[in-house]
Point group: C2
C-alpha cells in the first residue's frame, strides 16, 4: 500500500542481497522507520519485540529468517536451530509454524549448499502468496459490504468495526480484515471504520488508524469499551476482524477482546465476520478455548504506554500506582457459534467443520 504516495510492503529483501528490510511497527504512527534484519537473531528479536506482528507477517518474516540463518549455517543443525529459535518467538499464531515447517520441508532434502538459495526463493514465494491470498479475501468480502451499501439510502456510509490491526501492516500487503474494506473504498462504496484502539498495545489506534488515514478511508478511533454500545444503537453494520489461529471447527483465536465484540455482535444482530486466509487454519485443533496456547505478554505493556508528547518526541508513561500488578493475556478465543462467516481466499465459509472441510477438501 502507499505511504506518502510511495508503494510499500511490510517486508522485502534489501538491495544488498544479504539482508531483509521491514517497517519497524513499534515506531508507528509517530515515525515511519525502516529496520534491517541481518541474522537469525535479528529476526527472532523483530518478531518477539513486535517490530513485525500480525499472524501472516510473522509467518513471512520467519521464512526470511530461515534464509538469513542458512546463509551462515546451512547444515542440518543450523536448519533445526533456526526452526526452533523462530518457532519459540511467539506461541499463538499458527502461521509461524506453517511457514517454518514449509521452509524446512522444502530445503531440508537439499544439499546444504543449495539450501540458502532455495529458502530465499521460497520466502519470496510465501510473501507473494500472502498478497494473493489477501486479494482473494478482498474478492470474497467485497460483496458483503456492497450488499449492505445497497440497502442504505444514497450517501449513507457502511459502518464497519474492526479490532486490533489485521490490515496491510499485519500481512505482507493488502491486509486480511482490511482487504474488503480497501476494496470497497476503492470501488467507491462509502465506508466508515470504527477502529478499536486495542489495548494494551494499541494496534488499532497506532496501526489501523495510520493505515486508514494514509489510504484516505474515513474512520474513528474508539475505546475498546465502546463497540457494544455502538452496536446497540445501530451504528455498526458489520464487524470484520482477523485471526491468529482458526481451528478446524471454526473457533477463532484473535487479539484479546475479540470475543467481547463477537458477543455484542451476536446480542445485537450485527454480522461478525473473520477474514481467515487458509494458512491461519490449524486443521489439527477442534476446540480453540482448550487447545490454543494463549501468549502471556509482559505486564508492562498494560501499565506503561508510549505516545507523542506535545513537542513531538515519544515518551512512555505509567498509568496505575506503583505497586499495582498487572496481567496481559494477548489473545482470546471466539467460539465458532458467534462467527457469522469466515472470509477465505476461496470464498465465504460458515464457521463449522463441515463447511471448512468442503471448501478445503485437500485437508
Amino acid at each position: 500500500m502507499n505511504v506518502s504516495g510511495q508503494p510499500y510492503r511490510t517486508i522485502w529483501p534489501a538491495a544488498d542481497g544479504s539482508s531483509v528490510e521491514i517497517i519497524d511497527q513499534t515506531q508507528l504512527p509517530h515515525a515511519f522507520a525502516i529496520a534491517r534484519l541481518t541474522s537469525l537473531d535479528d529476526t527472532a528479536h523483530a518478531i518477539r519485540a513486535m517490530l513485525v506482528r500480525g499472524a501472516p507477517l510473522i509467518g513471512a518474516t520467519a521464512a526470511w529468517g530461515v534464509w538469513l540463518a542458512l546463509c551462515r549455517d546451512a547444515t542440518d543443525s543450523g536448519l533445526a536451530h533456526a526452526h526452533a529459535t523462530l518457532l519459540a518467538t511467539r506461541p499463538t499464531a499458527v502461521n509461524l509454524r506453517w511457514a517454518l515447517d514449509r521452509v524446512r520441508a522444502h530445503v531440508g532434502t537439499l544439499a546444504p549448499a543449495a539450501r540458502a538459495g532455495a529458502a530465499r526463493r521460497l520466502a519470496v514465494e510465501i510473501c507473494d502468496e500472502d498478497v494473493a491470498l489477501n486479494r482473494g479475501i478482498a474478492t470474497t468480502g467485497l460483496p458483503l459490504i456492497q450488499a449492505i451499501a445497497a440497502r442504505k439510502k444514497p450517501g449513507e456510509r457502511v459502518n464497519i468495526l474492526t479490532h486490533c490491526n489485521a490490515g496491510w501492516l499485519a500481512t505482507v500487503d493488502v491486509g486480511t480484515a482490511t482487504a474488503p474494506i480497501y476494496a470497497a473504498h476503492d470501488a467507491g462504496v462509502p465506508v466508515h471504520v470504527w477502529v478499536d484502539e486495542t489495548r494494551p498495545r494499541n494496534q488499532g489506534a497506532s496501526l489501523t488508524a495510520w493505515e486508514l488515514l494514509n489510504h484516505g478511508v474515513p474512520h474513528t478511533v474508539i475505546a475498546d469499551n465502546a463497540g457494544g454500545h455502538l452496536m446497540q444503537h445501530g451504528q455498526v453494520d458489520l464487524v470484520i476482524v482477523g485471526t491468529d489461529r482458526t481451528t478446524a471447527n471454526g473457533d477463532v483465536c484473535n487479539k484479546i477482546g475479540t470475543y467481547l465484540k463477537a458477543l455484542a455482535a451476536h446480542d445485537t444482530g450485527v454480522p461478525f465476520y473473520v477474514a481467515a486466509p487458509s494458512p491461519s487454519i490449524d486443521w489439527t485443533l477442534r476446540d480453540g478455548r482448550r487447545e490454543i496456547p494463549i501468549e502471556e505478554r509482559p505486564p508492562r505493556e498494560v501499565t506503561h504506554l508510549a505516545g507523542r508528547l506535545p513537542d513531538g518526541t515519544i515518551a512512555t508513561v505509567a498509568l496505575p500506582p506503583e505497586g499495582s500488578p498487572a496481567a496481559n493475556p494477548a489473545f482470546d478465543v471466539t467460539p465458532a457459534r458467534l462467527v457469522t462467516g469466515l472470509i477465505t481466499e476461496r470464498g465465504l465459509c460458515a464457521a463449522n467443520a463441515d463447511a471448512l472441510q468442503k471448501l478445503f477438501p485437500e485437508r
Copy 2:
C-alpha cells in the same frame, strides 16, 4: 477510608466554614491532592472536569454546591440558577438530579435567610446517608462472596472482576461495588480483584487500583479486553460493578464497556452483580437503552492520556496519528436480562420491575 493511615472521605466541609474540600481525583494515582470549592462555579467545574466523579459523589457534591450558591444568593432565582447550573454538568447519573431536587424541595419553602443553613445541614445529611447506604450494600453483598469462598479449597481466593471505579472514591466513603469487597477482605475472606483499567479515562487503573492498594486488597490491573478471556478460563468467580442509573425494570447504565462484561459473564455462567443504592434508581424509566441520555465526552480523552514519566512528573501523550478522529461515548446500558442481581441497601433484588417494586413499595 484510610489514605496512608489517615481516614478520609472524598468530600467534606472545610474548617473555614465557608468552603468545601474534595480529593482532586484527576491527580490520582500519581498525587494525592486536596482541592477547595468556594462557589457554585467551582463546584460545577469540579463535576464537569471530573475532579469528583461517580454517581453518588456527584450527587453529594451537587448538594454542597447548592449550599455554596445560596451563601451568595439565597433568592428564588439564585436557587433556580444553582439547580440548573449543576444539573447541566453531566447528563447520565440520576443521583445528580435526585440530590438537586431534594435540596431544592427542602429549602425552597423556607425564607431566603434560612436557606443556606438548611442546605448545609441537608448536604451533611446526604453525605452521611450515602455512607450508610454503602454500608447496607456491604451487608447485602458480603454473603455472596462468603458463599463462593465456602465452596473453595482452603487458601483459594475469590476472584472478583470490577469495571471502572465504584469504590469509595466514587461515593462519599466505602463505595458501592467495592463495599462487599472491603467487607469480605476485612472479615478475612481471601479476595482478589481483577481491575479493568477502564479506558478512556482509566478510572480502574488510576482509582480502583489506588484504593485497593491503599487498603491492602490483592488485585491485578488488566486491559478492558481481557475480562472475557479470564471468565472463559474460570478465573472470575463473580463480577460486581456500580451503576450511574438503574431503570425501574432493572436495566443498568454504567461506564462504557460494562455491557461487554455482562455479556461475557452471561455467556460463561459467571454471576454479574450490580451494586445499586436506591438513589441510583430512576423510577420514571423502563427502557434504559432508549431512554437514558448517554454522555458524549471529548474525543481528546480517547486520543490523549496522562501518566507518570520515569522521573515522576506527569505528562500527556497522544496515541493515534494526528488527523485520526475519535469518539467517546461515556456510558452504556446493560439490559436487565444480563444482570444476576442488584445489591441494594435493603437486600439483594432481581433485576426486574416486580422485584424492585416489592423491595421499594413506597415508590
